[in-house]
């Protein structure tokens, strides 16, 4: 992706965080993202994010599992190799229910987790820029993109007026790449 400049403001409590997010959205600055150590309810609405459609993927995968199981077993028992098991009927729906149910759940779960990883862009070997080491510990980090048209001094004044614990400006790679977290990246060697 691209290397860009970002300004961050860190908060240690939810109240100033929501305050800041509201102000940023009304200010016209470009809100890149908000990093939190745990899910904060109400933050997606405050940021104007849409609801996720992940459950739809789960449903589709589940239906695939049901049809695969029922279809496959029916084909085997009626067409490919019907066997007379103790006089039981060739097509017996009650006997096929347990496996159908299990395969539904299996397909739905595996498919949904893979979709989740794809959407969140996470995978073993993926590396992303960590704006502050405490963003997964106890700080809520609001990240604003500094474009060519942004007055950096004005932006920093604005951020400092929202009561943050810390603010700074960083150069960072947007998005993700294949990398290791124990190695420093090229762009990190450029100071802000």
């Amino acid at each position: 992706m691209a290397v860009k400049k970002f300004a961050i403001a860190c908060y240690d409590d939810e109240a100033p965080l929501f305050d800041a997010v509201h102000k940023v959205r009304h200010s016209g600055y470009k809100l890149h993202d908000v990093y939190t150590p745990f899910p904060v309810h109400g933050l997606d609405q405050a940021m104007g994010l849409k609801e996720t459609d992940l459950h739809v993927a789960g449903f589709i995968f589940g239906i695939t599992g049901t049809s695969t199981a029922l279809g496959f077993m029916s084909w085997i028992f009626t067409s490919d190799w019907p066997i007379n098991y103790g006089g039981k009927p060739f097509f017996s729906l009650p006997a096929m229910i347990p496996i159908t149910f299990e395969l539904t759940v299996m397909f739905a779960a595996v498919g949904m987790v893979l979709t989740y990883c794809y959407l969140n862009q996470i995978m073993p070997g993926v590396k992303k820029h960590v704006f502050h080491p405490r963003q997964s510990d106890d700080l809520f980090v609001v990240v604003i993109e500094v474009t060519e048209g942004t007055d950096e001094a004005e932006l920093m004044n604005f951020l400092n007026s929202t009561n943050p614990v810390e603010t700074n400006v960083q150069i960072a790679e947007e998005g993700w790449w294949y990398g290791r977290f124990d190695k420093e990246e090229e762009y990190q060697k450029q100071l802000a």
């Binding site: 939810e14 109400g42 299990e102 989740y116 969140n120």
Partner: protein
Amino acid sequence: MHLKYESFIREPLVDGNKTYKDVTADICRPIEQKPSKLWYFGLVVSLLFLGFGAFSVFWEVYWGIGVWGINHTIGWGWDITNFVWWVGIGHAGTLISAILLLFRQHWRTGVNRAAEAMTIFAVMCAGQFPIFHMGRVWDAMYVLPLPNTRGPLWPNFNSALLWDVFAISTYFTVSLLFWYSGLIPDFATIRDRAKTKLRKRLYGLASFGWTGTAKNWQRFEALSLVLAGLSTPLVLSVHTIVSFDFATSVIPGWHATIFPPYFVAGAIFSGFAMVNTLLILVRKIYRLEEYITMGHIEAMNKVIVLTGSIVGIAYLTELFMAWYSQVVYEQEAFKWRVLGPYWWSYWAMMTCNVVSPQFFWFKKLRRNIVFSFILSIVVNIGMWFERFVIIATTLYRDYIPSNWSYYSPTWPELGFYLGTFGLFFTCFLLFSKYFPVIAIAEIKFVLKTTGDKAHEDNLALEEKSLEEFIHIAEHAH
């Protein structure tokens, strides 16, 4: 922004006036410290058991099932007893993670990570038994519906034993996915705190590059909810299918419709007891009593007394139905269970499963750590006897008296069972050293509404008048 309000009179879920920083520091402490001598000792003992188990299994695969004590009459002995025992234990983890999430029981956050890990390791142990009891283990692939050069020859989808294969595989996969997806943010926390290059690299790999954006968390919660919704019927169906291994047969004492609910209640019963056993040790050894509080232990003890009573009612129902049905084979089956040469196992089962959990009706005993620990072990022993009674003491007196026999386990069977304990504790010790035993992000999520500090603040709020309270609530974010 917190839609949940909890009154100060409720017991706090997190003690010690913790901040978010404290939570991270406390839970990461066992991972960041060097392991104690006790940990090394436990690991060595577990590996020894595992080694003996591996040797016993090799012996059985090489020489054949004949080295076991099973015979023509009693075709299933310790192998299937242990299988059902381990699978039953595994169900508590999923129940705590999934069902308690759907019921919005926030107390699950202190125990769910360790309970889910227990589930995965228990299912791994359980899975060994159906595989190795096949004898010709090298033909195990024929159990799966894979195209082959014999027709293709497909498995019998009418068979409860095959339903089991699908159920256990699905259960293992889904539990693993649910557990790991919850671990990803916690690995990111450990990665960001890591001091050595190796840890940064390995936890970086394990964390999948997680950074914790708002959208990521939104999807995380959606995924957790749906996986919980899938796992709940999965728990119920998997142990129902395991019960079908018996219920779909024609053996008196087995062919009964009470088996599915009886088995599911029994699984939850033994699983919660095992969770208690493990967590009482974990909280003491890793000094996490402020996160795994007495309230958590008490809640689990309440579930134990509930499910133990359900299991007791199931036993009485079986006896009643044997009498009421006037089917002489059913009546004889139970007579031989209670009064025959295996009477001692039946009475061990009754004492451990029906009588002992009743002590948990008393609050003083529910909140006593030593008593809870001892009772949790008694319950697990009782549940082992239940599976043994169902299997061996039903098979040993079947329709034809000339078939009647007796079963004693041999050393390879004992070794196999001890080996699974070795596998379980090796995995659990490694888990407790390198993985966070408590869900860090989830504890932080509930800290502001259910921690002791939050309750103290709520006390101040509750002393105001109703109008003032409404005014404050309206003007919060």
